[in-house]
């Protein structure tokens, strides 16, 4: 696997305090990387930085062999797609929401309709196409949010705890669907989670953040067996014992 993304000496400071510190991290093409850590560990900041929605105080991210500083901002952002913890749907129909990113890219109407239709079907929301976003349940809205991200056929998919607000059965079903989609598509994805089992099931490797710093990267089994330091061990110890899904 070749590297798609490489962080080098990357830091973000807020009020002189380091909120994200990634000395080095490579993410391979078609890899799924789970990002895990306690609250306030910098997981979401990491994702926003990767999406170029936050600027670094120091260091660089190289994407596809080129520094983010040299990528045109819009061109880069159009290679990625974001799914947040809350679905953040717009006040429009499901189909319009799913096609929104395509509209931003100036896709023809027929293409928008066809691609939105395909992904609404794939994520089980095709029957809701004409419903307005405000009428959806939490699970339905999150499926629409995933369809809205996948329809763009992004090189890089960024997911910030996309299932945390859902009830367990919906979460399990959506996770299975997403896991299958990622495997089928060989798409590069980075997703933030609180759940190590979820991370183990869905990702190739897990990155552990504590207090804004990247502490360890590796397969979930290795992290469980050999935590890199006390902070990682303490975090793993405090994780709730959730059943394997």
């Amino acid at each position: 696997m070749t590297h798609l993304i490489e962080f080098t000496n990357f830091q973000i400071k807020r009020n002189e305090r380091i909120v994200l510190d990634v000395p080095h991290l490579s993410i391979a093409r078609a890899e799924t990387l789970a990002v895990i850590g306690p609250n306030g560990a910098g997981k979401s900041t990491f994702l926003l930085a990767l999406g170029r929605l936050l600027k670094p105080s120091r260091g660089d991210i190289v994407y596809d062999g080129k520094s983010l500083k040299h990528w045109d901002e819009l061109e880069y952002r159009r290679k990625i797609s974001f799914v947040f913890q809350a679905p953040l749907l717009m006040d429009m129909t499901v189909e319009q929401n799913v096609a929104l990113g395509l509209k931003f890219r100036g896709a023809p109407r027929d293409e928008m309709h066809e691609r939105a239709g395909k992904w609404m079907k794939q994520l089980g929301v095709a029957a809701l196409a004409k419903r307005r976003a405000g009428e959806l349940s939490g699970g339905e809205a999150q499926r629409v949010s995933l369809a809205r991200a996948f329809v763009l056929d992004p090189e890089l998919l960024l997911l910030d705890e996309p299932f945390s607000a859902l009830d367990p059965p919906t979460r399990v079903k959506l996770m299975e669907d997403l896991s299958a989609l990622l495997k089928e598509d060989h798409r590069t994805a980075v997703f933030v989670t609180h759940n190590l089992n979820e991370a183990a099931r869905m990702s190739h490797r897990v990155a552990v953040f504590v207090d804004g710093m990247l502490r360890q990267v590796g397969p979930a089994s290795q992290i469980k067996a050999q935590p890199a330091d006390e902070s990682v061990a303490a975090f793993l110890h405090e994780l709730p014992r959730e059943p394997m899904i």
Binding site: G51, L53, F82
Partner: protein, 215 residues
């Protein structure tokens, strides 16, 4: 009858133009205040919020001093013209539209900006879709801006001069009729102003509620 029609028409024209100019100023400026991250933002918001309560007579005084023959803009010969009233009314309505636009956009989920950018929106597309999302409170801002100028009298009187056939609008005509003791005429004009304001707000409310039902 023709005179009343002309006064009514001028009232609508002057206030509509002032509201549209206020919208052209207030919408981008309010958006910049709501979405921008810069030093002095809170101070500027407090100035705008103060501006929302500007007394029309004070605005009238300042605009009259600027447009007075010996004033800095006296050469333009705008004092006692409908344009002078439009300028004064714009000064009154622009802070209202700006402040309410900023408040409407600040009330949206701040992550919505990141979500739109994360879906590949350009900055312009992001702002357009944030306006779309806040369209109901933005329409309320427009209604408040129009309401603040169609009903004001102080500034229109001071910079327009209430000249018959030229700068007389409904509010200044009501003041004149009252000062002459012509209460019947003043009441008729007041009723006309109220009906006019009601009809315009009814139309805007209908658009707003249609939007609310769809959401």
């Amino acid at each position: 009858m023709t005179e009343i029609f002309n006064i009514t028409l001028l009232s609508i024209q002057v206030s509509a133009v002032a509201t549209v100019i206020s919208l052209l100023i207030g919408l981008p400026f309010g958006t910049w205040l709501a979405l921008g991250k810069f030093r002095g933002r809170s101070f500027m918001l407090s100035i705008i919020n103060t501006g929302m309560a500007l007394p029309p007579v004070v605005v009238g005084l300042v605009v009259a001093m600027m447009l007075w023959r010996s004033g800095p803009l006296g050469g333009l010969r705008l004092i006692y013209t409908p344009i002078a009233i439009i300028i004064a009314q714009t000064v009154i309505a622009a802070p209202v539209v700006t402040g309410l636009t900023a408040a409407a956009l600040e009330a949206l989920d701040p992550r919505l900006q990141q979500q739109l950018l994360g879906l590949g929106a350009s900055r312009r597309q992001m702002v357009w879709y944030l306006w779309r999302e806040a369209r109901l409170p933005l329409l309320a801002a427009l209604m408040a801006g129009f309401g603040s100028v169609i009903s004001e009298v102080g500034a229109s009187m001071m910079v327009g001069g209430n000249i018959r056939g030229q700068t007389r609008v409904l509010t200044t005509a009501i003041v004149l009729e009252t000062s002459k003791g012509e209460f019947g005429q003043a009441l008729a004009l007041s009723t006309l102003l109220l009906v006019l304001t009601y009809l315009i707000n009814l139309a805007l409310t209908w658009i707003q509620q249609r939007g609310a039902r769809r959401s």
